[in-house]
Symmetry: C2
Subunit: 347 residues, 2 copies
């Protein structure tokens, strides 16, 4: 499937859905829409994902099957400056895939255009209608459940989950993926957007996914969301922790971050406090342990400094750690802290 990905003014650093799709999905990305970087290419920013031209708008995009909204601003609203691109896509007969809270299928203009041009609008963040409360039975599946948890939003939980998933499969492990957010769902073509379900059903929606896939694999890697200390999103994090009844946790962090992004009054607590908090909160529902860490070192200049940052993070965790993006290769196999050591703790 050929797609264009909308990421105006956000690519690549604030466009985690766009980057996730470029890195992990099977779509052929024909163009990324970012009016601020028009004329450049994806490879100018990201050498290790599929390449595509960056264009100013849909008028510069060749024939595609779909336009994917590849950014998710805080609050998930629709930016009216995107309207003409979405309109053009639908007029040209392209489907629309969106992870916004604002459902594009319920936008009158887009709904009419989609009907006229025989296009589908898939609002990935629209949950199923038949969700219900958790029964507390996710621990009855055969798979061992591994959940990524974070010190904050946007520290790289989805990326860490995908990288560890691929690395585990490369080593022959039978691992299923349980996505919980729009990018993961777009990649897996299955899943429930946990941040969008009725709050009473948060744990239940996760449990339902675990039950659906938990007897088909030896391991399930569950994509975590938010952070247990996030002023806005902790409810989602807590529901995933208890609904998944995770056996093992992988703590994800970004090197150098010292306050919750967008909530600068809220300091990031010491790493050891996160370990205690996630374990203490999980334990009354299901015994769990932080067995490893994933550190996002993308802001760290050189590999030596990144390696030091990972080693420090591992010390704070008292568990093996890696940056699975930077140190995922075979060459790192004999590092004391590296992706192999992390996988050994997880599998």
């Amino acid at each position: 499937m050929q797609v264009a990905v909308l990421a105006h003014e956000k690519f690549p650093d604030s466009a985690k859905t766009a980057v996730g799709l470029l890195r992990y999905a099977d779509y052929e990305v024909e163009a990324v829409l970012d009016r601020e970087n028009a004329g450049k290419r994806v490879s100018d920013f990201l050498p290790d994902v599929q390449d595509a031209p960056i264009v100013a708008g849909m008028d510069d995009v060749p024939e595609v099957d779909a336009l994917i909204v590849g950014i998710a601003p805080i609050g998930g609203g629709f930016d009216e400056s995107w309207r003409s691109d979405v309109r053009t896509a639908l007029e040209r007969g392209a489907d629309l895939i969106s992870g916004l809270h604002y459902f594009l299928a319920e936008d009158e203009e887009f709904a009419d255009l989609a009907a006229e041009n025989d296009c589908d609008i898939w609002d990935v963040r629209k949950p199923p209608e038949d969700l219900t409360v958790a029964q507390g039975v996710a621990d009855e599946v055969e798979a061992e459940v591994v959940l990524t948890v974070g010190t904050d939003c946007s520290v790289g939980k989805m990326t860490a989950t995908m990288e560890l998933l691929e690395a585990a499969r490369d080593r022959g492990a039978d691992v299923g993926f349980v996505p919980t957010g729009q990018t993961g769902i777009m990649i897996e073509n299955w899943g429930t957007p946990i941040d969008r379900v009725v709050s009473d059903f948060t744990a239940g929606a996760v449990e339902e996914m675990i039950l659906e896939r938990g007897d088909d694999h030896d391991y399930l890697f569950v994509e975590g969301q938010g952070s247990i200390v996030h002023p806005a999103y902790s409810a989602v994090t807590c529901g995933i922790l208890h609904g998944s009844m995770a056996d093992k946790l992988v703590l994800c962090h970004e090197a150098g971050r010292d306050a919750i992004h967008g909530y600068e009054d809220t300091a990031i607590p010491p790493i050891s406090e996160y370990v205690d908090l996630y374990e203490d909160l999980g334990r009354p529902v299901h015994e769990t342990e932080v067995v490893a860490g994933a550190l996002n070192t993308k802001e760290v200049g050189d590999d030596a400094a990144a390696r030091d940052a990972v080693a420090t993070f591992a010390d704070e965790l008292d568990a093996p750690a890696t940056d699975p993006v930077r140190f995922g290769g075979a060459a790192e196999a004999d590092e004391p802290h590296g992706t192999d050591a992390v996988l050994e703790a997880i599998l």
Copy 2:
């Protein structure tokens, strides 16, 4: 405002909304509808709340401003045996207030009747459309925020909140009430049902209420929901904790309960663990402390045993505790643990 309260076949033991309204709301209850107890009076069952006749149906109710559905059956559905009463109320021009999951405003017959007779239908459990994510600013209001938190669901958080609110007001404190569930919302005639909001907006919906009322009072008492260790509902609890940015917490528990209700595999942890967990979880967002406890002793036979249970609970909490229903009166003022000591810790 004069109201009738529908509680067919459930009054009083399975009609906690109806009983809550009779006990705490400012409505003048003209009649309770319960066809099984028609001819009796509220005071035959509950001597300590406002009295009203119990009648078989709306035909026996005098002129009222509204009919309130005062029962919330498992599943929250509408019982068709109530339809003629609801129809009669609307035909007589009375408004309709309901806490059912089934929204009466979306029932075609009721919507038509309401339009014809110029009646409002308020589905209390339907959250407003314009909710959004928390900004992490609930601590900027002038009021001190006090939140009831629980060891489990249905331990009496709403009742404890209302009893402590009334006791604080009796002592001259300027306290506002922030309801989070349907009964509290009906009592206060305002509020958002937190268990029904989109999970990403859980904290934001609470914050919005705090901001709306937080500069009008010296204290806000926030009604808590669920429990931080509840396998199904912890997400709601966590969102209220962080969204309210509560300064002080009152831990609510029911004497004798040793497992999560309906989840008998999940043991109730020691009380001291709840104290640590609520404080440790709250602190990264806003410094908070469990300052007091409310113990529901309704299953404890005599007052002496109840007093012992409260004393033990207070020891485990390392804070004053009371059963505000049983020991709310002035006679208890000099108890080492009693409602006065609890209020002193809160105010």
